[in-house]
Symmetry: C2
Subunit: 513 residues, 2 copies
């Protein structure tokens, strides 16, 4: 039997130990959780859609029942302010209810029916019916930067559960107490709604061993991860080398370029500066969609934008980062980048919160497009309240920078109508590198809805064909299955004659309900 | 400059050289084809849907225009009979027209619109619109066993072109003349419908070098392959090791188990035997869906089935295989399997076509489930007119065999109503391992339609979430892109207010047209 040492939870702002001991799982725990998940799968996948929806809603309610206990613990463990954590709880509960609606409505299974054509020549056409079915046990890695919305009961867990897959969460070591609270809420919901025990498990680890065991486990069917490029690639490699490879949906970061077009700057440089100063520093800049690259053409408008940014950023006080490791990284990467050739400091926040741990000061650096295009290290993501202003001489350099930086979660465009006309040639290049393109807004604050795409070409995510935010995130955990001339009584309800579930279906090439 | 040696085309049935010299491409040709594809992409993807549909229909017409020249050449190069090649041309032309219909109808882009909610609290909701957009240049490997329907203008090419992706085909060396004819038809269609030159290219190679260069080329966005497990895995590995990994959709074979249930055998053992003798030997058994595993419980019905199979198979004359390599493999693998412990020969066709090359005799072997479950080498696919009858003692062994064999393209069930009731517990296991489950039919003869799923859990295919046959095959070559608060005039037509394309869209959670 393995001897495990407890690890503790750290208060991000004080560096002190919080209440509670947490134990890293061993190989036996991994096997037990997976055996339970395997046992639960055939039961859970066949539970009717209304009961599944009720389960998801019950999780939402149980999370709300945790009240301020959850808010306080998450604030302490993450260093994030209460308003932000309350908002994140709202998003988490909203996601659970949104997926409950999706499951209850039922059309997401994409039922397609092609009827028999017994008279067709040269051969009769059989009756073929297809729908999406769940893959099986899904391993979810909790994210450091969303202790609620992308952790234990976050977007990955809810979309996998909605799909009909059991979930095993590897809790993030930075917020074990928060994770335990949310897991207890899910456990209550499992009991209250009569779900099979193994539909959800959670395991702790302070290192990488449990995660690796989970990814390599023969019964694992898919993996989700939100974090660093290095972490995402390591998991993808493990998964690809399995005897039976499985998909890893890794969201690995992005610098989210912002195109600052001339007429927009001319008309509202100061307002744009204020908008972006807020976006860069929100949540200590610890968002996958943090605008890490500001891109404009030298002009008087851009000069005003720089002045505006200086004013705003310098007024922003330091903020607590999620962990000491993240904070140390922020300091070393931002310092190193500022030492790169011909990179200069534009502004660094002047207000430091004394005596509080893990503080980051917002920083914006500046470089010419010419220099940027010759130094790939300048396009690496720096996780935190950081952005790099790249100043181009002409529109061609803007396009060159877009091609150079590669796959991104978002591209933002700040533009007036005249800019949109003058720079329309840029947008094809912008669309080619991103999963979301937005006009006159900021990329932070990802809307959870059906039309959201949160996933971009590599290296932003490991698979740009899927999203981790919004209802279509469910597609990561399903595959199509066709039934040919199958017995009418044995067909799943979604495919039966008469459409008993009253869902949208494609029947003989026609959408019908 | 590289010096390349021409290779010739071989008549499969005579082993003689056919007319025509074919030259392996060099690295420069790969670069040129890809540069043209990259140039074509932004033009082609923005061509309106009706013109794209017209292009696909023009390819279909140009293939028909080739007339008997194409049929004769394909028969000679493949050894397949004229009826089969005519049928395959029908399928190929049918696929092109089916995808033309799909493109012209337009709803396949899955347009989703979530409207702005400016009054929402705590923050307004932006306008978000999402649709599927093409990935970019796709590399298609021609398949040996479908010289038309899964080669130059086959299912992979047509679904990639329909998606808006340029295609580069690596022609299969076993049918270069057929490939050249079809490529000439596509080239005519490109010219006639005013498509950009680089939307289609084809390269020859008698070895593996050109394929590897294409998969590793930085501009390649996706790869399709139909062939051996070894070939598919080698390409997947190359693609995963790229600095920017790309998906490989590899269809790598399957033994397509057939569950012969007792009451069905009792009532119609001889008819089932006749049906399966035909399915096993059709096209010299060279189908991905060839029923390579017959699975039943020892009974008098099963004994009658065996007798029926013996009668039918022994009457079937030998058939010409696609290539000498495939034929040699068939002989060595089937001989080796017959030497495995406790495997016996049930029947081998007695009629041999004298003096013709590459002849395969249909063969069925027999083994007990007990022995089968202990010898993984018995579950390897043998490409050709081969099947292995596995005889179980009880229903539990049937289920054990299903779990043991792993991912499959198809599972067939021969059953009466009483069988379906008695064995209903088996179907969950069957569904878990396959992409298509069918009742009282044969798996060969894959219907090309919207509801078809031709892709199963690994190792049947590299990614069970996608199909290579049917209209949803288009999804392999697209990714979602969201536009947030984007300029109304600049939005793609599919996402514009007023629905100018008159397609099905999900607007604020409601399907509407």
């Amino acid at each position: 039997m393995a001897i495990t040492t407890a690890f503790g939870a750290i208060d991000a702002a004080t560096g002190e130990l919080l209440e509670g001991d947490f134990y890293p799982a061993g190989k036996e725990d991994v096997d037990t959780a997976m055996a339970l998940a395997v046992q639960a799968f055939p039961v859970y996948k066949n539970i009717d859609k209304d009961r599944k929806a009720a389960f998801l809603r019950a999780i939402a309610n149980e999370i709300l029942e945790l009240g301020d206990t959850l808010i306080e613990r998450a604030c302490a463990e993450s260093g994030l302010p209460a308003g932000r954590i309350q908002g994140e709880r709202g998003r988490t509960v909203g996601q659970l209810n949104l997926f409950a609606d999706l499951v209850a409505e039922g059309s997401w299974v994409e039922a397609i029916i092609d009827s028999e054509q017994p008279e067709r020549q040269p051969a009769p056409r059989p009756d073929i019916r297809r729908m999406l079915v769940p893959l099986g046990p899904v391993v979810v890695f909790g994210a450091s930067n969303f202790p609620l919305a992308f952790s234990v009961a976050g977007g990955d867990t809810v979309s996998a559960l909605a799909a009909g897959c059991p979930v095993i969460v590897k809790a993030h070591a930075a917020h074990p107490g928060t994770s335990a609270l949310v897991a207890s809420a899910i456990a209550k919901a499992v009991l209250a709604t009569g779900m099979p025990e193994g539909v959800f498990s959670m395991l702790f680890d302070s290192g990488y061993e449990v995660g690796a065991l989970l990814v390599k486990h023969p019964k694992t069917k898919a993996v989700t991860f939100t974090g660093s490029f290095k972490g995402g690639m390591a998991l993808s490699k493990l998964a690809a080398e399995r005897p039976v490879p499985v998909p890893v949906f890794a969201e690995m970061g992005s610098i989210n370029p912002v195109l600052l077009l001339p007429e927009a700057l001319e008309l509202r440089a100061e307002a744009i500066a204020a908008q972006y100063a807020a976006s860069i520093t929100m949540g200590a800049g610890q968002f996958c969609t943090n605008p890490g690259l500001l891109l404009g053409i030298a002009s008087s408008g851009l000069t005003r934008f720089k002045e505006g940014l200086k004013d705003k950023i310098s007024e922003i006080s330091s903020s607590t980062m999620l962990t000491k490791g993240i904070c140390d990284n922020y300091h070393s990467l931002s310092s190193a980048l500022l030492k790169e050739k011909e990179v200069s400091l534009l502004v660094k926040s002047e207000f430091s919160t004394e005596g509080v741990s893990n503080q980051a000061l917002a920083t914006v650096a500046e470089v010419s497009a010419k220099v940027f295009l010759e130094n790939p290290s300048l396009k690496e993501e720096i996780f935190g309240p950081w952005s790099l202003l790249v100043v181009a001489e002409n529109p061609a350099e803007l396009e060159a920078v877009l091609h150079f930086i590669g796959g991104q979660l978002t591209v933002s465009v700040m533009a007036e109508d005249s800019d949109l006309e003058a720079f329309s040639g840029l947008f094809d290049a912008a669309e080619d590198i991103t999963g979301r393109i937005l006009l006159n807004g900021v990329p932070t604050g990802v809307e959870v809805c059906a039309a959201m795409q949160h996933g971009g070409p590599f290296p932003a995510t490991s698979d740009s064909r899927f999203t981790s935010v919004g209802t279509t995130a469910i597609r990561r955990f399903v595959r199509p299955l066709s039934w040919q001339n199958w017995d009418k009584k044995l067909l799943p309800a979604a495919l039966q004659d008469g459409n008993p579930l009253n869902i949208w279906r494609m029947v003989d090439q026609t959408m019908t309900k």
